[in-house]
């Protein structure tokens, strides 16, 4: 498995086909971490952050680098016709389709835990958003510098949803362009943080998440008029 691109395949089975509504097994990327580490009994609040990007860009790798559990894979069932329409009758319906997604977990404190979701960025994925990812704190758009165009759609949709996000360039090889050139190519507004990362490295993944939450803190301070928005003091 490509160590830097081991996204779970975007399994889009058609439930009408024999067996295709089956459920993918759990993604086992590393044997060292236990698959099941229970949360503390005091945990009473969970947050969501979504990592979105093209196929093979390293979403699962990033989730796995920072997660305290091995990334797990599961799926949701949706009607094919129901793009944008919440239709729970999709279950066991021949018109249904399944969308696989990965997730990992970070315990933040005795009371709170953060779930990280890796989700494909293609058009067909976005009908998951309302059902699974509403209420997410924000998103990380992971981009492959060799295929920037893969993230155009995701960036458009995040802007459309009003979901705050940062863009992280996962460098598979020494970058040939500056981040400013990338910003221009992606037509990113100046306030959207853009940074380099190595999705395989825990510290790098952690910095990506910290950059996102700092960005959120600044946005919240602007929105609520807090005078104490300086995330830099927190490092």
């Amino acid at each position: 498995m490509d160590s830097n691109g081991s996204d779970a395949p975007g399994a889009f089975g058609t439930a009408g086909a024999p067996g295709a509504a089956g459920v993918p097994g759990t993604a086992v990327l590393e044997a060292a971490r236990p698959a099941r580490t229970p949360l503390r009994s005091t945990t009473d609040n969970a947050w969501k952050i979504v990592v979105v990007g093209g196929f093979g860009v390293g979403k699962t790798t990033l989730v796995g680098a920072v997660s305290e559990i091995r990334p797990l894979t599961t799926e949701e069932v949706m009607t094919k016709a129901g793009v944008g329409v919440d239709d729970p009758s999709a279950v066991a319906d021949k018109r249904s389709t399944t969308v696989a997604f990965d997730f990992g977990r970070i315990t933040l404190s005795a009371e709170s835990v953060l779930y990280l979701f890796g989700a494909p960025g293609q058009e067909r994925f976005w009908f998951l958003w309302d059902r699974l990812f509403s209420g997410a704190l924000g998103a990380v758009v992971l981009v492959d510098p060799r295929r920037l165009e893969d993230s155009f759609y995701a960036i458009d949709r995040l802007e459309h949803h009003g979901m705050p996000f940062v863009v992280a360039r996962n460098n598979f090889e020494p970058p040939r362009h500056t981040l400013e050139q990338v910003r221009e190519a992606l037509d990113l507004s100046p306030e959207v943080p853009l940074l380099d990362c190595d999705a395989r490295a825990k510290e790098s993944g952690k910095q990506v998440l910290i950059t996102l939450v700092r960005h959120l803190t600044e946005l919240a301070a602007a929105q609520y008029g807090s005078a104490d928005a300086d995330g830099e003091n927190l490092s």
Partner: protein
């Protein structure tokens, strides 16, 4: 695109139909994908095996999405099963405090707590 799936006779729409007793709609909208589920009682003999597995897994808090992965069932099916257990008083649900319908952000203090948690990682 189904090459990675483990195909078997138990998979497919029929299995999902059986697990949920033919229901396709959760009785309650109460569950987010990260709602934390806590068992309030142990499984009892004769209980549907999926219900029993959920109760065992939820001995400690566990998110809906983790139950989905553990039971290898779609999130929407897990929500139906959880609705049964909630109705029977066998589980409690700890809902995410932040579940906005609009584009509002959590307050700055809350975000700083998240930041502190990440910095300890």
């Amino acid at each position: 695109m189904t090459g990675r799936r483990r195909l078997g006779p138990d998979d497919g729409p029929d299995r999902l139909y059986t697990v949920t007793g033919g229901r396709s709609r959760p009785a309650t909208d109460a569950f987010d994908v990260v709602t934390l589920i806590v068992a309030e009682s142990a499984p009892v003999p004769g209980m549907q095996s999926e219900h029993a597995r959920i109760l065992r897994l939820a001995e400690h808090p566990i998110a809906v999405v983790e139950l989905s992965a553990e039971l290898e069932l779609p999130v929407s099916v897990i929500k139906i099963l959880l609705g049964d257990l909630l109705e029977a008083g066998r589980i409690t649900a700890r809902h995410p405090r932040f579940a906005p319908r609009t584009n509002r952000l959590p307050d700055v203090d809350t975000l700083k707590q998240v930041l502190h948690g990440l910095q300890r990682l």
